[in-house]
């Protein structure tokens, strides 16, 4: 594959002969609203329940049943809209999107078509080249469908309506994304914002976040948009990236062969790593959208919006700025620390517990280094961290005030994992306190020099490498507890 490996993560270029193409991507993200009950009924939305145990008469579309809007879901959508710096529309309308499918009980999905609840906004991506703004076209509320299960019964399709009627936010981006890396950053940023707001848990394994990916290609430098294909319902960032790469190259190949690209809906086959045509534009459904006569237009007062605004927590962009300003961490470090709300919370707690004589550099390094490594190994979230922020702060303070060395700290850290043990206790019980008494260390070093006279002479004659040998001996003799800085100083003086 002739892909120009650009160092720039913000572009993905494909080269064929003399032509260089860029890829243009827009996403329609379906985010499940965090809410105990569904968009138009009081059924539970809890994940993982037995099939068809969370289905009301409304969800199963029994005769004469009527939808009643869940105010909480509306609030959640508005909150998300505010998080996307978007315009909140005072009036929006629920429409019916009509089509037949076994897991769509009403024969239509209640969605918002012409008048969505949230209008234009934007999201800032932190790419290695700097920040990039991605436009948001709209956000609207809609019902999820049920689930058709084809692989349980050999001759029948089974239907589970637990998801039927669950509230989704469809967040439509502008075609502003240019690379798989940007898609990665965009999804992560959206998820981060929604998790900060508590409006979507962003759990892709449970299907809380899915996306339809619109892909087109064009010659680099062109400002016209190419014909796009929509890849439906991709449920992980990795698959989105794979689908984009496959699809962009497929389109470029077609163009290079002088063929036209059909505007169509495609599916991504995760096993074969390819996209396949699902239906062409000609076969596109006519959804016969019209305003749902069972629901009145949704009218939202400015007062209601202001009330929600007043409840918005500090969001990642603002938090990042504050971390840089107040804690003097780098932009890169701040981006990592704020990307997940629980990481940011953990970090802030560590900072608070470190007290006055805090060391930000140590805090950042220990969280993003040792702690992240443990979380990765155990495949757990920071919220389930085996070491509390309080005890990590204590450990950092022990390093900072010279009680232990960085090396010993790593040993203590390992011991702390077993039940979030207070590092102070470990230091005392195991006698791991650093030796910082200069007289004791001088005696220790005198003995080492005496025992290794020849080497000391070689050092004096210019074999400077041997300095490390003496440090090693001193550490060994002190079982690693000697203060390395002091050892260095004393050795330099004595040798």
């Amino acid at each position: 594959m002739d892909v120009i490996m650009s160092k720039n993560n913000s572009e993905y270029l494909i080269k064929r002969k003399d032509n260089v193409y860029e890829v243009v991507i827009g996403l329609e993200v379906h985010a499940q609203v965090t809410s105990n009950s569904k968009l138009f009924s009081s059924s539970s939305t809890k994940f993982g329940a037995e099939p068809n145990t969370q289905v009301s008469l409304v969800d199963a579309a029994f005769p004469g049943m009527l939808p009643v809007i869940n105010e909480y879901c509306v609030k959640q959508a508005i909150k998300t809209g505010i998080g996307l710096k978007a315009k909140i529309n005072n009036k929006s309308v629920f429409d019916r999107k009509n089509y037949f499918y076994a897991d769509l009980p009403q024969g239509y999905q209640i969605s918002q078509y012409k008048y969505p609840i949230v209008g234009e906004g934007n999201v800032i991506l932190d790419m290695s080249e700097g920040q990039k703004q991605v436009g948001i076209e709209r956000l609207h509320l809609e019902q999820d469908a049920g689930k058709s299960i084809h692989d349980v019964d050999p001759s029948n399709t089974l239907v589970d309506l637990n998801r039927s009627g669950v509230a989704l936010m469809e967040i439509v981006s502008k075609p502003d994304l240019r690379s798989p890396d940007e898609v990665n950053a965009y999804i992560k940023k959206l998820r981060s914002i929604m998790r900060y707001l508590g409006t979507c848990d962003g759990n892709m394994q449970e299907g809380s976040l899915r996306a339809d990916v619109n892909v087109s290609v064009r010659l680099k430098g062109s400002t016209d948009l190419g014909t796009r294909c929509e890849i439906k319902n991709v449920n992980s960032i990795k698959f989105m990236q794979m689908a984009i790469i496959y699809e962009a190259n497929r389109q470029v190949d077609l163009i290079e062969e002088g063929e036209e690209i059909d505007q169509e809906t495609r599916l991504f086959d995760t096993k074969k790593n390819e996209t396949r045509s699902m239906r062409s534009k000609e076969d596109a459904h006519d959804y016969r959208y019209f305003p749902d006569p069972d629901l009145l237009p949704l009218e939202i007062t400015d007062k209601f919006i202001d009330q929600i605004k007043s409840e918005i927590p500090e969001l990642p962009d603002d938090k990042k700025k504050r971390f840089i300003d107040d804690f003097k961490v780098s932009s890169y470090e701040a981006t990592i620390l704020v990307s997940d709300i629980d990481t940011a919370k953990y970090f802030e707690e560590v900072v608070a517990k470190m007290g006055k004589n805090r060391d930000m550099k140590l805090a950042v390094n220990w969280i993003t280094g040792e702690l992240f490594a443990v979380l990765n190994n155990k495949n757990i979230e920071i919220a389930q961290s085996p070491i509390s922020a309080k005890n990590l702060a204590k450990l950092i303070n022990l390093i900072k005030n010279g009680t232990i060395s960085g090396k010993i700290a790593k040993t203590i850290f390992e011991l702390m994992l077993d039940g979030d043990i207070d590092p102070q206790i470990i230091v005392e019980e195991k006698g791991l306190k650093q030796q910082s008494d200069p007289k004791a260390l001088e005696a220790l070093i005198d003995k080492i020099i005496n025992d290794n006279r020849e080497k000391a002479i070689e050092y004096k004659q210019g074999k400077e490498k041997l300095f490390g040998f003496f440090v090693g001996q001193a550490m060994k003799a002190s079982s690693g507890k000697a203060n390395p800085q002091l050892i260095n100083e004393i050795l330099k003086k004595k040798l």
Binding site: F62, P63, M65, V68, N98, G107, P293, D294, L295, L296
Partner: protein, 484 residues
């Protein structure tokens, strides 16, 4: 003493409260007469045994504070009734037994009413003669082989034949008022949003409204008081202050301004309708009302508008009858085949016609020309009424352009059938209250009705005008029990 079944609701309540008759006696009388009246084909599902049992329960532990103390009531089979089959007159719901109760019927049971049975109607309330029902034609007790009107044809027939003391229907384009007019009874369509649509099988959501059908105006006012309620389960239900319609009912309508819309004088309208209308105007004057000529300029667009909006909503509302979850399921090779067979066998011709019309007018490329335009015209029709109501308190028109016709006479001519609704449809489009009261007969002695249309939420004025005109008109049905 007169036969129990010939008594109206008010009289029955009075007799029961005064302990002159028991609930069980009342129930027995209506059940007996219903048993002898099978030829009318008004019941889709009988609930006689249970009704008799419940009436005994009532007598054993009576509560005379209720508004419908131990009164047996048969209802249109469009209202979902808990544990009692509800078909909407369709094969597709032939076997459907709801596990829930519509708000309107629940209100009736809460006030002591007892379900007598489920009454025949046009399939999914689509029709004006009850001929589209899967369960067959309903006979009008006025004369043999005469339609009872529709879609609440089982309701109007049962009421006129004294098989139920009162009943409820639903009215999307005239389905309460037209059958009332055809059977010499009273039918009221309340303001849209007055009665909850929860649990009523939907036809056209923005037009459907339940309402009382009765032998006289007072009875309708009693039942309206029971069934009209704000309901959070229906987002289009309106929380307005409801009157005590029956206790506030008065014949004093002196000085009330009644409008006569010139556009309702349609081409080809039979002379007897014109005459009836003129007579009605005289009656209204006699009652002390002031008559004012008004104009509702967009009237002629109401019927085409209605036949776009109603089928559009219906085509979507009926999509849920797909054989997957409940009701009829025909076997098919695959999902689409199953859908096609189920819906082909489950729906009748008229329902299919309207689903197709509705699907067409909502299709991309046609939406703007049909559905969107129809919605705009609907606004103009509403505005016509708004402007008229700056000058008048109510409007008087004929209920229908003709009297009841023979079974089969119009069933092959949908357009002529649709014309039946010409005077009633604008009221639904504007969401207004309207009542039909019997006002005379045609040359065959078939009943004819007059319609009084009110301001939104002003059912009281509509009822008061009807109540006072009713006294002057003094109409009596002449029913010979020819079917027994």
């Amino acid at each position: 003493m007169t036969e129990i079944t010939s008594l109206g609701l008010f009289e029955l309540i009075k007799n029961i409260k005064e302990k002159k008759i028991s609930s069980n006696e009342v129930a027995k009388s209506f059940v007996d007469r219903s048993e002898k009246s099978k030829k009318l084909n008004v019941y889709v599902t009988e609930n006689f045994e249970n009704c008799l049992k419940l009436s005994k329960d009532f007598d054993n532990k009576p509560n005379f504070d209720l508004k419908l103390p131990g009164i047996p009531i048969a209802v249109k089979d469009l209202f979902c009734t808990n544990e009692v089959r509800t078909t909407a007159g369709s094969n597709i719901l032939n076997n459907f037994v709801p596990s829930y109760e519509s708000t309107v019927t629940q209100n009736i049971w809460n006030e002591g009413g007892i379900l007598l049975g489920k009454l025949n109607c046009d399939e999914f309330a689509m029709g004006s003669s009850n001929e589209t029902s899967f369960f067959g034609n309903v006979q009008n007790p006025i004369a043999k082989d005469l339609v009872p009107g529709g879609s609440s044809g089982g309701s109007s027939s049962a009421l006129a034949a004294n098989l139920t003391p009162i009943t409820i229907g639903t009215d999307t384009g005239g389905s309460i008022r037209q059958p009332a007019s055809f059977t010499g009874t009273v039918g009221l369509k309340p303001t849209y949003g007055s009665c909850s649509r929860y649990g009523i099988v939907a036809f056209a959501s923005s037009l459907d409204q339940a309402g009382p059908m009765s032998k006289d105006v007072k009875d309708s006012s009693i039942l309206l008081e029971v069934i009209s309620s704000f309901d959070k389960k229906d987002s289009t239900s309106i929380d307005f202050k409801r009157n005590n319609y029956s206790s506030e009912l008065t014949r004093n309508i002196k000085g009330i301004k009644i409008g006569i819309p010139k556009e309702y004088r349609v081409d080809g309208m039979p002379e007897e309708i014109e005459k009836l209308w003129k007579k009605g105007i005289e009656y209204a004057k006699d009652c002390g009302a002031e008559i004012i000529d008004i104009s509702l300029p967009h009237t002629s667009y109401a019927l085409p508008t209605y036949y776009i909006v109603a089928p559009a909503e219906a085509s979507s509302n009926l999509a849920r009858y797909d054989g997957v979850k409940y009701g009829l399921r025909s076997s098919g090779q695959n999902l689409v085949d199953m859908y096609e067979k189920t819906r082909s066998e489950g729906f009748g011709e008229e329902v299919k016609r309207r689903i197709m019309i509705g699907t067409y007018v909502l299709s991309s490329g046609y939406y703007d020309a049909y559905y969107l335009k129809a919605q705009k015209v609907r606004q103009l029709i509403k505005q016509d009424f708004d402007q008229a109501y700056n000058k008048v308190d109510a409007i008087l028109t004929p209920s229908t352009p003709s009297s009841a016709f023979k079974i089969g006479e119009k069933s092959n001519d949908p357009v002529s059938m649709y014309l039946n609704d010409i005077f009633t449809v604008p009221v639904n489009l504007a969401g207004l209250p309207g009542i039909s009261i019997p006002a005379g007969t045609d040359k065959n002695n078939y009943p004819l009705g007059l319609q009084i249309i009110g301001k939104p939420f002003d059912e009281q004025t509509v009822l008061n005008i009807a109540y006072s005109m009713e006294e002057k008109i003094n109409y009596k049905n002449n029913i010979t029990d020819w079917w027994m």
